[in-house]
């Protein structure tokens, strides 16, 4: 479903601010699988997601989604295959427009928007039906501006919008990180429900070990722009948060080792 081959990306190449964000990532995700991406800050996990979404073009490598080579597709064109939820709850919705209008736009994701009336009864009826299932009491407020809602409500709506038309790939970029614990729980439960019900191929970045252990069928841990660990199948099922913490510790030690070896070698030979 998603096929990434040897992608590399360097930001600000040739300057003091050079960041080698992706240094050769290979990743293949089967249809219907739910992959959780972990990693420390600056490990390149969000960059990986943005590369797939098309926020920038990669320097090298190839990205295919649903059999289509999208490496050179601009972001808005990839939207016909991808549904996205951002870390910032304000990013996924147009605040001054009503809930209904936001959904009317999501109902046309990646399609040719013509001169048809946006708020057709078909859209609003279907919308009300789905919003009721959120149990947030929003079904009576669909004419209200989305900006008047809380971050958790907006994030739940963004998730519904992103999956309104079944996407070939769902990208979740730390979409609960900016929410309070209760809202985060609500949104993550909803995520699990929606992904399971529609059997969505999903790539989720998170900082929460708990989420990584509870959700999905595969965990990828990134370090320095590469995939450091990849757990799937029964191995993933057995994984506990302690095991993940051990992995992080191992990465940290290996880095320290690098440094101390370098110091030792320097002492001996220079």
């Amino acid at each position: 479903m998603l096929e990434i081959k040897g992608i590399r990306k360097t930001f600000n190449a040739g300057t003091v601010n050079e960041v080698r964000a992706l240094q050769g990532v290979d990743l293949t995700i089967e249809e219907g699988s739910f992959v959780v991406v972990l990693g420390m800050n600056g490990s390149g996990k969000s960059t990986l997601l943005n590369a797939v979404a098309g926020s920038f073009y990669v320097d090298q490598g190839k990205i295919s989604i649903a059999g289509k080579n999208v490496t050179k597709w601009p972001e808005h064109k990839r939207a016909q295959l991808i549904g996205r939820v951002f870390q910032n709850p304000f990013s996924g919705t147009a605040p001054d427009m009503s809930i209904a209008e936001n959904f009317a736009m999501a109902a046309m994701r990646g399609k040719n928007r013509g001169l048809g009336w946006a708020l057709s009864p078909k859209v609003t009826d279907a919308l009300r039906e789905r919003v009721v299932t959120l149990k947030m009491g929003l079904e009576d407020r669909i004419e209200n501006a989305i900006g008047s809602l809380s971050g958790g409500q907006r994030q739940a709506l963004t998730l519904l919008m992103a999956t309104w038309l079944k996407p070939s790939l769902l990208l979740l970029d730390e979409h609960t990180a900016a929410l309070d614990p209760k809202s985060a729980h609500q949104v993550i439960t909803l995520t699990d429900e929606v992904v399971k019900r529609d059997k969505l191929t999903t790539l989720m970045v998170t900082h929460s070990m708990q989420q990584a252990v509870n959700l999905g069928d595969r965990i990828i841990m990134m370090n320095k722009g590469k995939i450091a660990y990849d757990f799937s199948g029964p191995e993933k099922k057995r994984l506990r948060t302690e095991d993940l913490l051990d992995c992080f510790e191992e990465i940290r030690r290996r880095e320290q080792l690098d440094e101390s070896t370098a110091a030792m070698l320097a002492e001996q030979y220079i």
Binding site: Q80, M97, R109, A118
Partner: protein
Amino acid sequence: MTLLLGSLTIGLILALLAMGVYVSFRIFDIPDITTDGSITLGAATAAILIVNGTHPVLATLAGAAAGAVAGTVTGILHTKFKINALLAGILVMTALYSVNLHVMGRSNVPLLQTENVTDYGADIGHAIVGSEDMDIFGWETDTADFFVMVLAAFFVAFVGALLYWFFRTNVGTAMRATGNNPQMIRALGANVERYVVFGLAVSNGLVALAGAILAQYQGFADAQMGIGMIVWGLASVIIGEALVGERSLGLTIIGAVMGSVLFRLLVAIALRWGLNPNDLKLITAVFVFAALVLPGFIKKLKPNKPAAS
């Protein structure tokens, strides 16, 4: 009465400008200074075509189209060449000054001897009333003046309705989101850059349409007529929002029209009371400044008086 009718008519014609500014400033969130050049471009294009014998309706449409082209250029400078929107507008406005002089061939084109679109209003009036003068609520009024105003009102209503319809369609709704949250609508598959170019074309097309009609109404096109028009448009939009609120699209479009007419009336009254016409632009600018700053200022003051409700 003639003064009142004149102000109303000009207010209605400039309502087209206000709608154009509304599109760029409120819907796409870009203060587009191209406006100052494109209103003159519309006037110049229409005037020179009419003088050379083109049908006035065609000439007016050509004026609007020229404005749309100017807006497209600004849009391309902004989106393709990544120039700050304000600067892109300034560049095109400055360039248009020369373009306008070239279009007209001189700095002023008089239109008094030729037939133009305002004659349709006069013709309709004469056909309905049958005399040169008519009686409105006891006021002796020139038939032609009155019906030109009515025609302008109908035309503005038509354009406003068209605008409302467009921004409620699927593509129009996505365009409104472009100004509200570009990241979101791009993630939903909209080509934001293309929308911005289109929006600036529509905005400047409306502005130039206002210019084309204004030139025919006042009987001349002038290279200087565009100066400060963006501020005029902003003032109209802001007054409109004060009158009807900012929430609904339909109301804000109506508000922009009302704002334009009201502002024109206020100006006419102020001038009648002895305001120096030279101070007009200064006062307009101060007014817009106050309207932009006051809401935030009032909000800041409010927390100092807790539990006032």
